[in-house]
């Protein structure tokens, strides 16, 4: 199976579930912005859940060079014959879309992953976003059973307090100046004490630069930073947060440890 990119707008990259294990080298795990969507697209084809697929922040049109089976994160499966095209269009209800191919995209494994780390220019197809004329092949189908995975949406996001602050609560606007590194929030400014030196970071951490407007760290986040970390989004809401389209109103809710005491 082979597909050719006939049109692309925005950032379209090859992603899987990322490359954990290299953060001590300054390499964030990376991978899909919304892993649940990637799993859903792969599940519709019976692929392994973490098979490499296209992450579409924008729009892409592919043309099949020979017969191909594709699926999007909403579970739609299409079969293309040679010469037929398929477009992944943006949807108003989600920030990002995924397009999986049967077997998973065949790009070289680098440090255990096929995902594109745009900030380092590594992985995926030449370490970059797709361009018109790029060709992608697929690995042999694994013969797995197709699984339908329900996508969860919601604008209420649970945040636990961070090491340098008391968390984030209330309503914020998800700013358009957001990318795979960070998602900018606009709303009530947060006051946090400036740090003396660098601190370790994590995906889902909420850091506050001097202007007080919080930034939620995405898959390509720096592994260390100089701004206070006032909160971290809870695991169960990470996919929901990164699935929300830019321009959304996000309601943050403070999560407290069931043991009492926010900080352990």
């Amino acid at each position: 199976m082979k597909v050719r990119v006939t049109s692309v707008a925005g950032l379209v990259t090859v992603q899987d579930l990322g490359r954990p294990g290299f953060m001590h080298q300054g390499v964030p795990p990376g991978g899909a912005l919304v892993p649940a969507f990637l799993r859903a697209a792969n599940g519709a084809l019976g692929n392994p859940e973490g098979a490499a697929a296209l992450e579409v922040l924008g729009r892409v049109v592919l043309e099949a060079a020979d017969e191909a089976r594709l699926a999007t994160e909403d579970g739609q499966v299409v079969r293309l014959r040679a010469g037929e095209t398929f477009a992944v269009e943006p949807r108003a209800d989600r920030r990002v879309r995924y397009l999986a191919v049967e077997g998973g995209l065949d790009v070289p494994l680098m440090m255990g992953s096929r995902s594109t780390l745009v900030v380092a220019g590594i992985g995926g197809l030449g370490g970059r976003g797709l361009r018109r004329g790029d060709e992608l092949g697929a690995r042999a189908p694994s013969g797995g059973e197709a699984i339908s995975r329900e996508l969860a949406f919601g604008d209420e996001i649970a945040v636990e307090p961070g090491p340098d602050g008391d968390g984030l609560a209330g309503e914020y606007l998800l700013d358009a100046a957001s990318n795979r590194v960070g998602s900018r929030l606009v709303g009530r400014a947060i006051v946090a004490k400036a740090l003396d030196g660098s601190v370790p970071l994590v995906r889902g951490a909420i850091e506050v630069p001097p202007d007080g407007m919080p930034i939620v760290l995405g898959p390509e986040h720096p592994t260390t930073g100089g701004y206070p970390v006032v909160g971290v989004i809870r695991d169960e809401d990470l996919d929901r947060f990164f699935a929300m389209p830019v321009g959304s109103r996000v309601r943050f809710r403070l999560w407290r440890s069931p043991r009492g005491g926010a900080r352990t």
């Binding site: 294990g21 290299f22 300054g26 370790p200 994590v202 720096p222 260390t224 971290v232 809870r234 900080r263």
Partner: protein, 195 residues
């Protein structure tokens, strides 16, 4: 004191152990998938929920079964033609040649890596070259730029925005390859004038 860094990570004050042993000790702990160091902290990232009690990193370091590879020493060849060389010389009150000489003299330690994939925070910068970071960061610093910022020396492995002072450029800016970063925490770095 141990602090949670979300549901799957913790940060602890950095124990007084060398960087290579800390990374190896952290990675040897059950459930740990990643380790990040800074000057003051070590963070441990878990596959599952973060633990309730702080693990003993000294114990883990002492229990390491395989001896660590000896720290590697890297000689990086630099062309000293950085955009900020003149400004740095004025700011610290030294001739340009002396700034270069003082940047060349030390053998630096990779204290930790962060900010960008493969970006080393190097300890050992001559105290007379300490300057606050630029008030307005550059939107693009080229890959291989040799720079100083605050108490650190560093090298940009990939092109990125950046606020450090640029002293020069690596002859071969290959700091990041298929196997990951060239430099590792605990490695040593010497700068050499490019012929």
């Amino acid at each position: 004191m141990m602090q949670r860094l979300g549901p799957r990570a913790i940060r602890l004050p950095r124990p007084d152990l060398d960087a290579a042993h800390l990374v190896a000790a952290g990675r040897s702990l059950p459930g740990v998938v990643d380790v990040v160091l800074t000057d003051a902290w070590i963070a441990l990232y878990y596959a599952g929920p973060a633990p309730e009690a702080a693990p003993d990193l000294r114990l883990a370091a002492a229990a390491l079964q395989t001896p660590l590879e000896a720290p590697r020493e890297h000689a990086l060849h630099v062309r000293y033609d950085g955009e900020d060389l003149g400004e740095v010389a004025r700011a610290v009150g030294l001739p340009i040649a002396e700034v270069i000489a003082r940047h060349l003299a030390p053998v630096y330690d990779v204290a930790f890596m962060g900010f960008l994939p493969g970006f080393p925070y190097l300890h050992g910068l001559d105290a007379s070259l300490r300057l606050p970071r630029r008030s307005t960061p550059r939107l693009r610093v080229p890959a291989g730029a040799v720079a100083i910022g605050g108490p650190y020396a560093g090298v940009y492995p990939v092109a990125s925005p950046g606020g450090w002072h640029l002293l020069g450029q690596l002859l071969t800016p290959q700091l990041f390859g298929d196997d990951g970063a060239l430099l590792r925490p605990g490695d040593r770095v010497r700068f050499v004038v490019a012929p």
